[in-house]
């Protein structure tokens, strides 16, 4: 029996090595972007950072009006205050992320020492706890104010997620996120790719689905439906619930790897968060 399992494992290994040669992350990203550019030839490439509004002229005008008096403005201000507020030990978030916190383009990143993906939210909480402060909740509230401030100051930076080639665990984390994106889940049997790639632009109940290219650029988001700000992982959870899949833990490994893949696919676009969405 050991032998059977052993050779079955060897078989899968051989298979993944074969795939590894034929399509690495760079080739994946090029094919991914090209897919949307072909599907939506009227959308200028950089505009995919604007989500569904990049492909839905009918909704765009209203969205542009909202962005003129952005509902996330207060969050940016509150975030700035929190950012500069001294901890009990006299330090502040600025000691971890610099005076303006414009470090959006450094995340998500691979941490070879710990062998894991580190997102900006995780890094913020690690800065807090390392300084004896309480960590923030990951889906909404204070964390979105801090990231709104930091993202706002990072606007215009290019998405440039890296997968270090000297650490195979980084590629494995990416592959894990990639597999998640393309596998059908939940009782309704949908993959992220079904709604955000193959049928992007189609209507699901009352909502048109956005292209997956651009999903990593604009967080946090003020969503009218939430009437509040939310993180990317909050959104992941919402999409999972809609297909009757149990959401995973915000900032757990599953969602961090998914964010690693999703954001990598947006490489080359500009960070433009925070943003408003329906």
């Amino acid at each position: 029996m050991k032998k059977i399992i052993g050779s079955a494992l060897a078989g899968t290994l051989g298979l993944s090595i074969a795939f590894g040669i034929s399509a690495g992350p760079v080739e994946d990203q090029i094919a991914f972007q090209k897919y949307y550019e072909n599907r939506f030839p009227d959308t200028p490439t950089e505009d995919f950072a604007n989500g569904v509004y990049s492909i839905l002229p009918a909704a765009r005008e209203q969205w542009e009006a909202i962005e003129e008096f952005p509902p996330y403005e207060l969050a940016i201000e509150a975030g700035e205050e929190f950012y500069n507020k001294p901890f009990a030990n006299g330090k502040s978030l600025a000691d971890c992320f610099g005076a303006d916190g414009a470090v959006r383009n450094q995340y998500p990143k691979w941490d070879s020492e710990r062998g894991m993906v580190v997102t900006m939210e995780l890094a913020i909480n690690e800065c807090l706890t390392a300084n004896g402060e309480k960590p923030l909740k990951y889906k909404k509230g204070k964390i979105t104010e801090v990231t709104a401030f930091m993202s706002f100051n990072s606007r215009g930076q290019k998405v440039d997620v890296k997968i270090p080639s000297d650490d195979p665990r980084a590629l494995a984390a990416y592959e894990n996120g990639k597999e998640h994106f393309y596998t059908k889940r939940g009782q309704l049997n949908f993959a992220c790719a079904d709604c955000h790639l193959l049928t992007a632009g189609n209507l699901y109940r009352a909502d048109t689905t956005s292209p997956g290219f651009g999903h990593g650029t604009h967080w946090p988001v003020f969503r009218s439906k939430w009437q509040s700000m939310g993180t990317l992982h909050r959104r992941f959870g919402g999409c999972h619930k809609n297909i009757r899949a149990n959401p995973y833990k915000a900032q757990g490994e599953e969602y961090r790897n998914l964010e690693y893949f999703v954001t990598y696919m947006s490489n080359g676009l500009e960070f433009n968060g925070p943003a408003a969405r329906k």
């Binding site: 059977i4 079955a8 078989g11 994946d28 393309y182 059908k184 889940r185 009782q187 149990n246 599953e254």
Partner: protein, 101 residues
């Protein structure tokens, strides 16, 4: 070789659900479904809200003294777990087809 492994898995699945369909208290059936849900989630990372809800409904029915309904719900939950495992298996083998080349 791979085929043999598959047979083994199918065999295991059959024996566990076979034993399950037989005797035991309704509470045990509910616990079996709960354990199976957790095991699939652990093995595959696939987890359905529907299963969680069905297990909860089974517990509630049992508490309310409706043994028959509770047992039926426990079996439904087990079916959902099996469907989840099958989904994970199919997806694990086919997802590459969806990747743009």
């Amino acid at each position: 070789m791979k085929f043999k492994l598959k047979m083994l898995i199918v065999g295991l699945a059959l024996t566990t659900s076979g034993a399950f369909a037989g005797n035991g208290t309704t509470a045990e059936h509910i616990e079996a479904a709960t354990a199976a849900y957790k095991q699939v989630a652990k093995d595959t990372s696939y987890q359905w809200t529907t299963t969680v809800r069905t297990i909860k409904a089974a517990r509630k029915a049992l508490e309310a003294g409706d043994d028959k309904a509770a047992r039926k719900l426990a079996h439904q939950a087990m079916d959902l777990v099996e469907a989840t495992r099958l989904q994970a298996k199919i997806e694990g083998e086919t997802w590459q087809m969806r990747v743009p080349k």
